[in-house]
Symmetry: C4
Subunit: 246 residues, 4 copies
């Protein structure tokens, strides 16, 4: 069942290792089959060297139950499930503790768009969620992690803002496919480090001009895209929520 | 004698190299056979490329004498011996000069719990020892290094605080096995760098909320653990000494 | 057509990956055949693992039209074309988003000559361009990027200043050949990181003494060069525009 | 002639690449045969991939003339020659532009002994030379570079202080053999980065206690050494010049 998706999800998890985004057994990637209402996700705490497509866990979107697989799913599976529920355009979700993105999450700061490298993928800042309330942590913690992400994305197109920083925790990214979600994790880690270094050179540096940001974002996304060999399908023009400093 | 333990200790030392935690011949890992009262440790100053299980040195817990092996044990062997004596739950000890953990040790600061990456392994801050007194340095230096570590752990469960920073020196970590001790060295180096980067982005950043810290620590440790494929055996609930700024 | 140049340009693009200067499909290198008025450049958005000399795109210097190749050229091709037009000594151009050079570009700072490592390749600071005006971004963005680079190089010898930082974007470098342009990208990334680290140790550090800068630059360049096995052909003595803080 | 020394020097140069201390053709290592009064050094500007023992250049200590080899010696050969002349205990010299050591050199700061990692190899701070005067740069630059190093070492045992930072330039290290000089370059780069990171965590951090510094230095050096499998021959007890802030 879902052999192709299992292969893609397994491959995506292994790409996170190759890209240097995960340590030990940390991190997880998932993909969704929307027609069947099933999510495929990495098992919990299994070494990456032992991951195979057959070990991926199939979880029902409806209630989070394990439908197939003898292993326990990633402990973050409920967070993934909330994101798929809220973002119908999304086909894959990734969570890592990659160094620089996690540092921004721990600092509880929105990651501002400081240059074209950022604006090629995120149209505006990478937002940071609010802290969870004690009650939200004590009960249904992983579900509530998904909920504060969705809350933070209000008014934004998830494909124009393909990832967030969860306060005191780390990044979640997503995309049309799980491979896209992995690519967004790679980009996020890079632009996080780039922003850190830029701010070291010019403390208080503010976001890039909106016109330059738009030029780069829409060069790669949407109906007027000119980058690459085929223009990708257009994302919806998304909202213009100002980058709120946290 | 102790062939399996020698193999594990040799392997653990080599894992430190693979993980990028040691330079040249620095660093050492040991394991203990509590029934026989014997400790197995890396020889002193031998290149990692020449380490074999047969070259591991067997030291008596009772008096530190070399029981087997033609090589001199790591110069830090007395420190390991003190830790095994004080922490009966511990089966392996590791010492490195890994970059970021050592920077915190040189800065003589407790490493605060700033996010879930930290709290998955250390329940609270990674404590930094006090400086040794001149007399403690001049006589029995390595033993006294062990003693200030034990002094600093007072009131803490060694499995909830599986490592410390020795002031002006570097990290020591431990665990149920020498493989666990290696894993804790890897985690410590990562959370040390992560904390450094987070503080760069928000100087004065304070520790994460206790409720989030507890949620993550006890998700992985103790009777209610839900992470991984089998819940690990419960560590004792350990004391709540406040993170003392150094 | 231009098989040797295609091979060199393909090789140069792959060297950028090996040197750790590009992520994903970012970055591009080109070379020029001045006799034929043709530029060879990397195709847009093609994975580096799929680059072959035959996939390089040939573009006419006169009007930017694709003369050969079934793929779309790099979206930065017009910028390259402007640089070749303005700098007749130049045989190759490279653009990357390498971490530290891009951080300086995002910080919109000239990269000062702080030591001999810098002065061996750049005679003075690596200049940062002014920001493009909104109208320059909205229309002919890539051409205008080339124009602000040329504007910034006014009065400087392009071979004594073989690269710039484009504000809020990233570095462009060049050289007598595309291989030289790659080497300059490697050097620029290193001296950018070196300057960042030096400024961390001594905030406000000013540029090195001019006499030391001249000694190193002219040890490697020009008629009195003594470095290497053959002295390179002499660049023109270039102007002495002061390092303008941006 | 000098085949064994040529092999060692060639190997040492290649070790610098493996250790990540050199970029492109930068850096050079040499060894000396004191009985014959000959120095063997890397050729200038030759790619590391093309280095072979036969390509090493033999230079006369007496006058710096090339005695054997068809290639031009490293442009820094005169600096090496001055160091061998002044430090009779030294058998090998290395120069690199390694990132962190060079950053300290560019910042023109002595690198303070902040922890045991440093004191295991340098008994005190790694000193930074004074800047060369314009006349010293214009004439006999490379010889004068050696002379300011020797001037800075006045009163120090070269084996207790096996390297310096040349202001606005980079590190030179040395040792009993060229292999030792390479090891000291590796250690210097590490302790330079470690000091940078420590100072980030505690700006204004002062040097470690002298008693701890002595304990570690003399654990590895001199008649009472206990580190490794054989105690190395004793260096002379060297002077106690205070670490001068630059």
């Amino acid at each position: 069942m879902l052999n192709e998706l299992k292969r893609e999800v397994c491959q995506a998890n292994l790409e996170l290792v190759k890209a240097g985004l995960v340590l030990l057994t940390w991190g997880n990637a998932s993909g969704i089959d929307r027609e069947r209402g099933l999510m495929v996700i990495k098992p919990s705490g299994v070494p990456y060297s032992e991951l195979t497509p057959a070990r991926m866990v199939v979880v029902a979107m409806a209630d989070g139950a394990v439908v197939e697989g003898r292993l326990r799913p990633s402990s973050d599976a409920p967070t993934h499930r909330v994101l798929y529920g809220a973002f119908p355009q999304v086909g894959g979700v990734v969570h890592t503790h990659s160094l620089h993105a996690t540092a921004w999450a721990q600092a509880r700061r929105d990651l501002p768009a400081l240059g074209t490298t950022h604006a090629d993928t995120w149209h505006e800042a990478v937002p940071c969620t609010r802290a969870l309330k004690p009650a939200e942590i004590r009960t249904d913690y992983e579900l509530n992690t998904g909920r504060v992400i969705v809350e933070r994305l209000a008014g934004l197109d998830p494909l124009g803002c393909p990832g967030v920083l969860v306060a005191s925790h780390g990044p979640f990214t997503w995309g049309r496919s799980v491979a896209d979600a992995v690519e967004h994790s790679i980009v996020l880690e890079f632009v996080a480090q780039l922003a850190t270094e830029s701010l070291r050179l010019r403390p208080g540096l503010s976001a890039m001009p909106a016109v330059l940001r738009d030029q780069h974002f829409f060069r790669k996304h949407g109906p007027g895209a000119t980058y690459g060999q085929t223009a990708p399908p257009p994302p919806k023009r998304h909202g213009r929520q100002p980058n709120r400093p946290s």
